[in-house]
């Protein structure tokens, strides 16, 4: 198995994951986005806003300005959404594939399928789930345009800490496993990651710009967002693991055949 094997499998898994994420986002998420935008248009949240056409102006113009791009809601919720989920899916799938190539044979005594599944799991946890716990997704109409720069920086910063934290935790786990055995290694690695993200979560500032946004809509939106992310990672992990396992089994079978032939 070569790096190429893993990258190709990862890209394919990512493509399928992008499709899956689109299906979930479109069916489960879009109704919530529409509800949020309807609330916004109705002025339910006066100091936050989302412009969906060029008519908004004046006091509300501190957020999006759409002077040159009036893309319809229909396009945003179909082609636009698909562009986003496919691009992110392929990129995350490819990267997960490459990291699985690094993980191959380096994660204790795990076989290729298991080490690949573990890498995908760690990717999901560190890139999506844990950052979501600290900075959960927000629907349109939540958040001030004045703080978007700092919130974007905070989000990227936290994701970076989380991803680097998991890489460090894997290094700790390998070292501990080498010194003692597998289980203490896993415990040490998990503890290292939890400590890193817990400290980071304490130090990273809180973002609270919800205003009077209805809690029920917010909850539904966040659940749908989480489902979208989980669907993406589940497909990346499952497809990549299956493809890697298939390649490995074929390779094993061919090798066994050669070994058998050599004995004749």
């Amino acid at each position: 198995m070569t790096t190429r094997t893993f990258l190709v499998h990862g890209l394919l898994a990512g493509l399928l994951a992008g499709v899956a994420a689109f299906v979930v986002a479109y069916t489960v998420g879009e109704p919530q986005v529409d509800r949020a935008i309807a609330l916004e248009s109705a002025g339910a949240t006066a100091d936050h806003h989302h412009e969906d056409d060029v008519t908004t102006s004046g006091a509300a113009s501190h957020s999006h300005s759409h002077d040159d791009a009036a893309i319809s809601r229909t396009t945003q919720s179909t082609l636009g959404l698909a562009t986003g989920t496919l691009a992110i899916g392929i990129v995350l799938g490819g990267l997960t594939g490459l990291l699985s190539a690094v993980g191959l044979g380096r994660l204790g005594s795990l076989r290729p399928a298991a080490s690949t599944a573990l890498v995908a799991l760690l990717g999901a946890v560190s890139f999506s789930v844990v950052p979501f716990l600290k900075y959960p997704a927000t629907p349109p109409a939540v958040g001030s345009g004045e703080t978007i720069d700092s919130r974007t920086a905070l989000w990227f910063g936290f994701v970076a800490v989380s991803v680097l934290g998991v890489l460090a935790a894997v290094a700790v786990a390998r070292r501990a496993a080498h010194r003692w055995s597998g289980v203490p290694g896993i415990v040490a690695g998990a503890a290292a990651y939890v400590v890193v993200v817990a400290v980071a979560a304490l130090f990273f500032p809180e973002v609270d710009e919800l205003g009077g946004f209805p809690a029920s809509v917010l909850w539904d939106f966040r659940i749908s967002s989480l489902l979208t992310l989980l669907a993406m990672w589940a497909v990346i992990g499952a497809v990549l693991t299956v493809l890697v396992d298939r390649t490995w089994r074929r390779q094993e079978a061919a090798a066994a055949q050669r070994a058998f032939a050599a004995t004749l």
């Binding site: 198995m1 070569t2 790096t3 986002a25 998420g29 986005v33 936050h48 999006h64 759409h66 002077d67 040159d68 791009a69 893309i71 945003q76 636009g80 959404l81 698909a82 562009t83 986003g84 989920t85 691009a87 992110i88 990129v91 490819g94 990267l95 490459l98 990291l99 190539a101 690094v102 191959l104 044979g105 380096r106 076989r111 290729p112 999506s128 950052p131 979501f132 997704a137 927000t138 629907p139 349109p140 939540v142 001030s144 978007i148 919130r151 974007t152 920086a153 905070l154 989000w155 990227f156 749908s224 967002s225 989480l226 979208t228 992310l229 094993e252 090798a255 066994a256 050669r258 070994a259």
Partner: protein
Amino acid sequence: MAHAISSSTPSTVAPADLAIPLREIAPWLVLGALFAMSVVVLISSVQGAITIPAGTAIHEWVHDGRHLLGFPCH
């Protein structure tokens, strides 16, 4: 059967023997990571911390994906 393992086949080898040399993966990983970061930044923050000069067209186009994939938007 004690010597069934042929020295040249990967069959029943320890997982560690499957490891691909880091030297070989590193260039792919560097390019892949940089490419992934560019795409994530492009999708997530055309309006925001990093502003691409081409206005807000990309920002608007992938708007719903950004919200539902958990990126900061508004």
